[in-house]
């Protein structure tokens, strides 16, 4: 009860931050136009940089070594783990498909989840992919808020979890406030198969799997960045922007977002 209250209080504080950020036009409902791209403010840059440095230290000391060990596991174990945690993410994706009005994709993802959980042995085998289902695209509550027209608010770096925005953090809190059926069943469900420990393990595995898949990319980025913090921030915000707009390759929204600046430079 106390924990739930604490979560609600923290979420309320974050949402009030969002309301304040909205005063500069960032979080107010806006037209869904490619020309209306706004810069995400780094309101807490000093704190963010300190948290980023802490996360880097933690990564080098703990997370990266675990990810490297994970990469040494046999391929079927790695792909099985990766598939299983991806399959569980359907439980967050499906309600968000519905909230964004994409009922067709929600139905497809429900079919994918049922098939992979049963025939695919608790999601360890991606049967749906082998059967030719459309490519799976994750959705979350932060993306839904974005799709509804809420701007990102300020950029923040969370301890351990990494880059985020006020909007995306508020979206993440929705998971633990009833938005994630797996969380509900693990923490509040009365059954002998699911537990808090299992929930935390799946989240940790999700993080390790992501880190293991990006070891070289992160090393390369860090080595070739003049300001690694700024590079990670830029890539995170671009990625979220694309996901919210469901941008695909060569999408004109991405290409044109900086067009005026390019047009000025005509050698």
């Amino acid at each position: 009860m106390f924990r739930k209250l604490a979560i609600i209080i923290v979420t309320s504080i974050l949402l009030s931050f969002s309301a304040n950020a909205g005063s500069d036009g960032q979080l107010s409902l806006k037209e869904n136009s490619s020309k209306n791209i706004t810069e995400t403010k780094d309101c807490f840059e000093k704190l963010n940089r300190a948290t980023f440095a802490f996360n880097q230290g933690l990564d080098k000391a703990v997370i990266k070594p675990i990810a490297e060990s994970y990469r040494k596991l046999p391929d079927p174990i790695q792909s099985g783990t990766s598939n299983a945690v991806k399959n569980l993410s359907n439980l967050i994706t499906i309600p968000n498909n519905v909230l964004q009005g994409d009922v067709k994709t929600a139905i497809i993802n429900t079919g994918r989840f049922v098939l992979n959980t049963t025939v695919g042995l608790l999601g360890t085998i991606d049967v749906a992919n082998k059967m030719g289902f459309p490519k799976y695209e994750k959705e979350d509550y932060g993306q839904t808020l974005g799709a509804w027209g809420f701007g990102p608010g300020c950029y923040i770096v969370l301890p351990i979890l990494g880059p985020s925005t006020i909007r995306d953090t508020a979206g993440s809190f929705t998971n633990v406030m009833g938005g994630d059926p797996f969380y509900n069943a693990s923490i509040h469900g009365n059954n002998e198969f699911l537990s808090e420990g299992l929930f935390i393990t799946t989240k940790a595995l999700n993080g390790i799997d992501f880190r293991a898949n990006n070891i070289e990319s992160f090393d390369n980025l860090e080595k070739n960045s003049l300001d690694f913090y700024a590079s990670v921030k830029s890539l995170y915000l671009q990625d979220r922007e694309n996901k919210i707009k469901n941008n695909k390759r060569g999408n004109i929204d991405v290409i044109y977002s900086d067009e005026e600046d390019w047009e000025e430079i005509n050698n």
Partner: protein, 194 residues
């Protein structure tokens, strides 16, 4: 008159076709050249040196440099511009070749193109998947103002623009240092030296 119109119309189509085709061929030939170097049994330094030569010929380093400065470029005097472009070129070539030299035998296939206007064509390509990494989508922003000498201005990897990332990185350095361009110069210089 009608015949003249038809000829002019056909000529126009032909010119457009040649322009767009050039951007495709230009990208494919550039990646093939880079791939050849990366798959050769030579030292890493030799690979980096070869990649730098390709970048000098095919990337609009001056244009990318000005773009990376954003609105700050308007505040520079001629001497600062000259110094900046020299420092930027060293930084860019080192960063670009170092990023690419990690790959061994990459295979990139050009799969499509979109002409944005007379100045730009977007070329779509795929970095073919291997057992170690998935397929990666790479879009190239090609500056086609001079059709005979197209130049690369940006790489958009899985929707993430490298030029935009670099610009935001430079802006962050300038904003964190009272917009003092000399701090950026020093940072670029140190990166190239190390």
């Amino acid at each position: 008159m009608k015949r003249l119109f038809v000829i002019l119309f056909m000529l126009n189509i032909n010119i457009s076709y040649v322009q767009s085709l050039e951007a495709d061929i230009f990208v494919q030939s550039t990646v093939n050249r880079a791939s050849d170097i990366l798959s050769k049994n030579i030292s890493k330094d030799e690979k980096i040196s070869g990649l730098k030569e390709i970048a000098k010929e095919t990337v609009d380093i001056k244009g990318v440099g000005y773009y990376s400065l954003g609105s700050f470029r308007k505040n520079l005097d001629n001497n600062q511009k000259k110094k900046y472009l020299t420092l930027f070129e060293s930084y860019f070539l080192k960063s670009f070749s170092s990023r690419l030299s990690e790959y061994t035998n990459p295979k990139i296939d050009v799969v499509g193109k979109k002409i944005l206007n007379n100045n730009y064509t977007i070329v779509n390509s795929l970095l073919v998947a291997t057992s170690e990494r998935p397929e990666i989508k790479i879009d190239w922003r090609i500056y086609t103002k001079n059709p005979e000498n197209p130049l690369i201005r940006d790489l958009i990897i899985e929707g993430l623009s490298l030029a935009r990332t670099q610009k935001e990185e430079f802006t962050s350095i300038l904003n964190s240092n009272n917009k003092d361009v000399n701090v950026l110069f020093k940072t670029l210089e140190e990166f190239s030296k190390n």
